[in-house]
């Protein structure tokens, strides 16, 4: 299987070569054979000794396209490499902000809506302030992710929004 790691422009290969029994395996990572001994495995995480080093990996998300894991405390996103994935991946972008082609403006933080600065039908530019949220004593301006027209506003002053809630549709 080939994987892409985060937004690193390279493919990495990994496969299980052999099951040695007694929870021990030979795996091939980036072309190199390594010994792997499982101490503990569930659907949520795995503890193993790779060659001579202990590691603890948690699985946070696992879809066909990507897998989010926490390796010894370090969060890493692995993208399973298909043709299709590559396209989606490029559009989503690696930095956490939504790509220009996306319809929805989502909130990257939870908070309370302090002000709504646009109306449905308004024309907005990328970077215009759409609304202001308050969270943890701070006011944060949420800016439009692209040029377009505000099609739908899913915001009300005083309401609470969660992380990843859709705030607006911009077309």
């Amino acid at each position: 299987m080939e994987y892409k790691i985060e937004d690193i422009d390279k493919k990495f290969d990994a496969e299980v070569l052999q099951n040695l029994g007694n929870s021990e395996f030979v795996v091939k990572i980036k072309g190199k054979e390594r010994n792997l001994k499982i101490l503990n495995i569930t659907s949520k995480g795995i503890e193993f000794i790779l060659d001579q080093s202990y590691h603890f990996v948690k699985y946070l998300e696992d879809s066909t396209a990507k897998m989010r894991v926490v390796v010894d405390g370090v969060p890493i996103t692995l993208n399973r490499h298909h043709q299709l994935n590559e396209i989606v991946y490029k559009n989503v972008g690696g930095s956490g902000s939504e790509g220009d082609s996306q319809l929805y403006l989502k909130s990257q933080i939870p908070g309370k809506v302090v002000s709504v600065n646009v109306k449905e039908g308004d024309k907005v530019k990328k970077g215009d302030v759409i609304c202001v949220l308050e969270s943890m004593k701070m006011q944060v301006s949420i800016k439009g992710h692209k040029d377009g027209t505000v099609k739908k506003l899913k915001l009300k002053k005083g309401a609470s929004v969660a992380k990843n809630d859709i705030l607006a549709e911009i077309e």
Binding site: V70, S135, M136
Partner: protein, 497 residues
């Protein structure tokens, strides 16, 4: 003698105060909002009272409700922590009226500390140097020019109707000042119908250095060394340490003496902090007194060996401070990192929600003050400080190395944290050399370096991630299919493992 203390706060500072209460055999009374019913301060106090809804205005800022609980529970004293009502002079006065021993300065002193212009005037009278500039509003443009030429350019022209950087103009000479004065006056008249301007020296490459002060009801006053708190974001401290790399014993004695003078000038009682700005030529300027226990007090506890909460309680009990200035020895070096729930790359925007798992570091010289536990939650109603990671070492380098290791061992699942940022700072040449300033992050492009560090860290863990991924796939396959041969053996092994 204080026997029962109501703690008008939440989070790690409420836990910190409870800890000292337990050690002294004093009963503690916690208060909590709807949001905090499962919080550790509720679980650790002797008694706990619900005081209202999640929003601070409905709970931790609700003065009447808190006083009501204090009276109902029979608390004879109140500890305000920091934030919330801790520097509210009206609340202090309300406590005084209700005969509740407020652990902190008098309402009068607090009021004076809170009024920056008045406080500055008092300090000037007491010969405590403040940031050069007009001690009051400037009368007219000529007055402004006169002051500016006295303190030297560049200066800042500030409108009192501004705030948060608005209405502030940087000018380099008389001409620029005259122009800016006209513009600012016009702007202000248009917006507010009146104008009120100040002139202040523009300080560059500033360090934020503060002195812990203590003064008892018998008039004994001491300082308990300095804390350097220059590493900040958006004017909020991130990393604090004691000693400061630019303060030697001579400077400590001198500025410490000024800090004590400042405390006496406002008739300050109990513990407080005198904040100074220090510029590259070595000058210190008083800016304000924080009339409360600071977030960063553990730094001072580790280098002095004192329990500052105990000292607060002792002073509130009317006792004398049990040591003299000359008895205090600054021992080793302490560093604190404020572990915030925030996304460094989203302009430090808050990150909240459930925290399914937490691993708290430990070891020689490591102290963690935190409200976190596995399964807890970081609320968006309150501030973003989840934990204070503090390390002590014989030397700055030992303290720094212990901090670096502890940061690595600190795992908080579910929210973004400032931990990766601190790892990068702690490893930076400039931090190691003590080249600190309030614009440290920007000056040394720390966020760019952080990005590089994160990339490197991910690459260094990529082999492990890939191994985990392929084993996970096999594991899932083995659980879905009941195929013959090897897979059955595999499954059996997996289940046994």
């Amino acid at each position: 003698m204080i026997e029962k203390i109501l703690i008008a706060n939440r989070g790690e500072i409420a836990l910190r105060v409870i800890k000292t209460c337990k050690i002294l055999g004093i009963k503690s009374v916690a208060v909590y909002s709807d949001e905090d019913v499962n919080s550790l301060h509720v679980k650790n106090a002797t008694e706990s009272y619900h005081i209202g809804e999640a929003s601070p205005a409905q709970s931790y800022l609700n003065q009447d409700k808190i006083i009501e609980v204090a009276l109902a529970s029979g608390a004879d004293a109140l500890h305000p922590g920091y934030g919330f009502l801790s520097e509210n002079a009206d609340f202090t006065i309300l406590c005084e009226k209700k005969k509740i021993n407020f652990i902190g300065p008098s309402g009068k002193a607090m009021h004076l500390c809170g009024d920056k212009m008045k406080c500055k005037a008092v300090m000037e009278k007491a010969n405590v140097p403040t940031v050069p500039g007009s001690s009051d509003l400037v009368k007219d443009v000529d007055d402004a020019v006169k002051i500016a030429s006295k303190i030297g350019y560049p200066v800042l022209l500030k409108s009192v109707f501004g705030g948060g950087g608005r209405g502030i103009r940087l000018v380099n000479n008389d001409n620029e000042l005259r122009e800016a004065f006209e513009a600012a006056t016009g702007e202000s008249m248009a917006a507010f119908g009146k104008s009120a301007l100040l002139v202040e020296k523009f300080l560059q490459k500033i360090r934020h250095i503060e002195f812990q002060i203590g003064r008892d009801s018998h008039g004994n006053a001491v300082h308990i060394f300095e804390r350097e708190c220059s590493i900040q974001r958006r004017n909020q401290k991130l990393i604090e340490m004691s000693p400061s790399p630019v303060v030697d014993q001579k400077i400590r004695d001198k500025i410490g003496e000024l800090a004590i003078k400042a405390a006496i000038a406002v008739d300050y009682e109990n513990l407080g902090t005198a904040e100074f700005l220090r510029i590259d030529d070595g000058s210190f300027y008083f800016i304000e007194i924080n009339a409360r226990l600071q977030v960063e007090h553990p730094v001072t506890e580790l280098v002095s060996g004192l329990d500052l909460v105990k000292l607060q309680i002792d002073i509130a009990n009317g006792e004398e401070i049990p040591f003299k200035q000359k008895d205090l020895v600054l021992n080793g070096c302490a560093i604190e990192c404020r572990i915030n729930a925030e996304d460094t790359f989203l302009d430090f925007a808050p990150s909240t929600g459930p925290v399914p798992d937490v691993k708290i570091p430990s070891g020689p010289g490591v102290r963690v003050d935190t409200y976190l536990y596995p399964g807890c939650s970081v609320s968006s109603f309150y501030d973003s400080l989840m934990a204070k990671l503090v390390t002590w070492g014989e030397t700055f380098d030992e303290s720094r190395r212990r901090m670096r290791t502890a940061l690595n061992d600190f795992y908080i699942e579910g929210v973004e944290t400032s931990i990766p940022l601190y790892k990068t700072i702690l490893e930076s040449k400039e931090f190691i050399e003590g080249k600190l300033s309030t614009d440290f992050l920007k000056r040394y492009k720390i966020l760019d370096r952080l990005k590089d560090d994160l990339k490197k860290e991910i690459l260094s863990k990529s082999d492990v991630a890939l191994a985990a991924a392929v084993i996970h796939s096999e594991y899932l396959k083995s659980r879905v299919k009941s195929s013959p041969g090897q897979n059955i053996r595999w499954k059996a092994q997996m289940d046994r493992a």
